[in-house]
C-alpha cells in the first residue's frame, strides 16, 4: 500500500526527538555565528594585550602573558588624549545639534501640509547621495573660505551634514506612525500645539530618537575621510590618530589594536546607557484607525 511506503524517515521520528534535534541545530547555528562575530574582537583585544613584536606573530601565540604596555604607551601620548577628547566633544555636540534640527523638521514634515513635501524630503536625502570622496574637495574649499578649516565647529557642522538626512527620514517615518489623535486629544485637553508636541508626542517618540542618536553618534565617531582633509592639527579626530599607526614602512600592531579598543569603548558605553529605551519598544495605547 502506497501510504505505508512513502513517508520519509523524519516523519517517523517521534515528536520529542524531533524537537530536541531542532533545538540542537538551532543552538549550533547560533553558537557558530556568535563565534564568527566575536572572534575579530577577541583578536583585536588579545593583540592589544601582547608586547610589541609578538602582536603580529604568525601563527599567533594563543597563550601569552597579557600586558597593558600598549595602553600605557597610548595614554602617555598627549596627541591621543587630545584627539580622543576632541572626537568625544565634537561628535556629542553634533548629535545634540542634529537632533535639535532634525527632529522638529521631521515632525513638521510629518504633520503639516508642506508644499512639495516629497521634493523637500528627496532634497534632504540628496545631501547623502554623492560619495563622500566626490564632495570632499568642495568641502575643503568652502571650509577654508569660511575659516572653518581645522576647527571643532567646522567638524561638528560636517558631522551634522552627514547625519541630518538620516535623522529627518527616520524620524518622519516614526512620527507618521504616531497617531495624530494623540496631539488632538492633548489640544482638546487644554494643551497648546507646542505642549502637545513636547509632552505627548516627544515622549512617545523616545525610542526613535535614541535610535537615530546612536546611529548618528556611530557614523560621526567612525568618520575618517573628512577628518583627514578638513583638519591638520587642532581638530584632529581620534580616527585619524588611530590611522597614524599605519605607517608607510611598518604598522604598530599593538598600539593600533589598543587605540582601536579605546575607540570602541564610547560606543559600547552609549549603547548600554540607552539600551533600555530601545528595548522598551513602541507600546502605544492606541489602535490604528482603519
Amino acid at each position: 500500500m502506497a501510504t505505508d511506503t512513502v513517508p520519509g524517515s523524519s516523519q517517523r521520528l517521534d515528536k520529542d526527538t524531533r524537537e530536541t534535534l531542532v533545538k540542537v541545530v538551532r543552538h549550533a547555528v547560533l553558537l557558530t555565528w556568535s563565534l564568527v562575530v566575536i572572534f575579530p574582537f577577541y583578536w583585536l583585544a588579545s593583540m592589544s594585550l601582547k608586547p610589541p613584536g609578538e602582536a603580529n606573530a604568525l601563527p599567533p601565540d594563543w597563550i601569552f602573558l597579557p600586558t597593558v604596555y600598549n595602553y600605557i604607551q597610548l595614554v602617555q601620548q598627549s596627541e591621543f588624549v587630545t584627539a580622543f577628547a576632541n572626537s568625544l566633544l565634537m561628535v556629542s555636540a553634533s548629535v545634540v545639534l542634529v537632533l535639535l534640527i532634525g527632529v522638529p523638521a521631521a515632525y513638521v514634515l510629518s504633520r503639516y501640509d508642506i508644499p512639495m513635501e516629497r521634493d523637500v524630503l528627496v532634497w534632504i536625502l540628496s545631501s547623502r547621495m554623492l560619495p563622500p570622496i566626490a564632495v570632499v574637495l568642495p568641502f575643503f574649499i568652502i571650509f577654508r573660505e569660511l575659516n572653518l578649516f581645522d576647527t571643532r565647529i567646522g567638524m561638528v557642522l560636517m558631522y551634522v551634514s552627514i547625519n541630518l538626512s538620516l535623522v529627518v527620514w527616520v524620524m518622519k517615518a516614526f512620527f507618521d506612525g504616531i497617531p495624530e489623535t494623540l496631539e488632538e486629544a492633548a489640544r482638546v485637553d487644554g494643551a497648546t500645539r507646542f505642549q502637545g508636541f513636547r509632552k505627548v508626542v516627544l515622549p512617545a517618540a523616545k525610542p526613535g530618537i535614541f535610535s537615530v542618536a546612536i546611529i548618528s553618534f556611530i557614523f560621526a565617531w567612525i568618520e575618517l575621510l573628512f577628518g583627514l582633509v578638513l583638519t591638520s592639527f587642532k581638530a584632529v579626530p581620534v580616527t585619524l590618530f588611530v590611522y597614524s599607526f599605519i605607517g608607510s614602512r611598518s604598522i604598530e600592531w599593538g598600539m593600533l589594536a589598543a587605540a582601536s579598543m579605546a575607540m570602541i569603548l564610547p560606543v559600547v558605553v552609549f549603547l548600554i546607557a540607552v539600551n533600555k529605551y530601545l528595548a522598551a519598544g513602541l507600546s502605544f495605547g492606541v489602535v490604528i484607525k482603519e
Binding site: 497617531p179 489623535t181 492633548a186 485637553d189 497648546t192 507600546s283 502605544f284 495605547g285 484607525k289
Partner: protein, 388 residues
Amino acid sequence: MAGITIDDVTKEFGEGEESIVAVDDVSLDITDGEFVVFVGPSGSGKSTLMRIVAGLETQTAGDVHIGDTLVNQLGPRARDIAMVFQNYALYPNMTVEENMSFGLKMSTEMSDDEIEQKVRSAAEMMDIDMLLDNTPGELSGGQQQRVALGRAIVRDPNVFLMDEPLSNLDAKLRTEMRTEINRLQSELGVTTLYVTHDQTEAMTMGDRLVVLNHGDLQQVGTPLECFYRPANRFVAGFLGSPSMNFFDGTVEGGTLRADGFDYDLTERMQSAVGNRNALALGARPEDIRLHDRANSNHEFEAVVDVVEPMGSISYVYLRAKAQEREETFVVETDGQRPITEGEHVYVEIPDEDVHLFDAETGETIHQRQLDEQAEVALEERLHAVNSE
C-alpha cells in the same frame, strides 16, 4: 454646561476643482444637556462636523456657538470640551492617572490634591481605580475605552464629543459600553455629540439623530421619528437592519408597475403621488408577510432564493416570479416557520406599512400608517422638539 448652535456651516477640503465638500451648509440647534447622535455612512461628513465643533477643523463658512460664545476663532483648548476618540488616543508614556489628570493640569489652576481627588472619583465612577498606576499598553481594549471616558468626564466640560468610541470593541463589550455611556450621560447631564455609523447605536443612544449623507443634512429627529417617518429614501434605507426594501416602478392609472409585480395604490397614496410618474415603493422586511397561497390583491408570487436562520427569526431573500432583474428583497419571518430555498410563496405588502418615495429626488411622498397610540405619542414628541 451649554447648548451648541451650528449655523450654515460648510467645510470644503482642497481648493478649486479638486475640492471636496465634506459638510454642506448644515444648521443645527442642540439644547443644553441633549444627547445628539450624528449618523451616516463613511464620508458623510459626520466626523468632520464634530471636529469643527471641537475646533480641530476650521469651517470654510458658517458659525458655531457653544453656549453664548462664538467659537469660530477659538482653538480646541479654549472651548471647554472633552473628546473621546475612536482609537482612544491615550498618552502612551503616561500612567492612567497621568492621562486623566493631564487635562486638568493643562487647563485649570487646581492644586495637585484637588486634581488627585477628582481623578480618583472619576476613576471610581468608571470602575478603573485599580488601574491608575498602569500604562495604556498594559490595558485591554475595554479598559482603555474606560480610561478614555474617564479622562473626558474628569474634566467636567461643557460638551462631550465622542467620535465612534465603541467601534474598536468586540460586540459584547460594545453593548455593555453603550449602556454605560447612556447611563453616564443622563447622570452627568452634559451636552453630548456622538458620531457613529452603527445604526444600533444611533437608535438606542441619542435623544435625537442627525442623519447625514455626502455632507448634507438628511433628517433631524428622534430615533423613532427617523425610523417611522423617514424624510427620504436615504434615511429609510439607512435605519433598520436589514434595510428597507425598495421597489422601483412607474405609475399607470393608480397602479404601480414594479419589476415582477403590480401594486394597486390606495386613494390616499394616489392623492399623495399626484401626477408623478416614477416612484419607489419601500417596505421594511419585518412588515412584509409570506403566504402559502394567494388570498388578497396585494400579493404576488415569488421564489425563495436564500434563507438565513437567525434563531427566533429568519431572513428570507426572495425574487418575484415574473421579475427580470437579479435583485432580491428580504423578508423577516418566524424562525420556526419551515421554508426552503426554491420554494414558491405569495408575498403580501400591507397597505398600511408602505412608504412611497419620489424616484428622482428620493423625497418621501407617502408615509406608512402607525398604531393610533404610537401616532399620538410621536406627534407629541415631534411637537415638543419643534417648540424647544
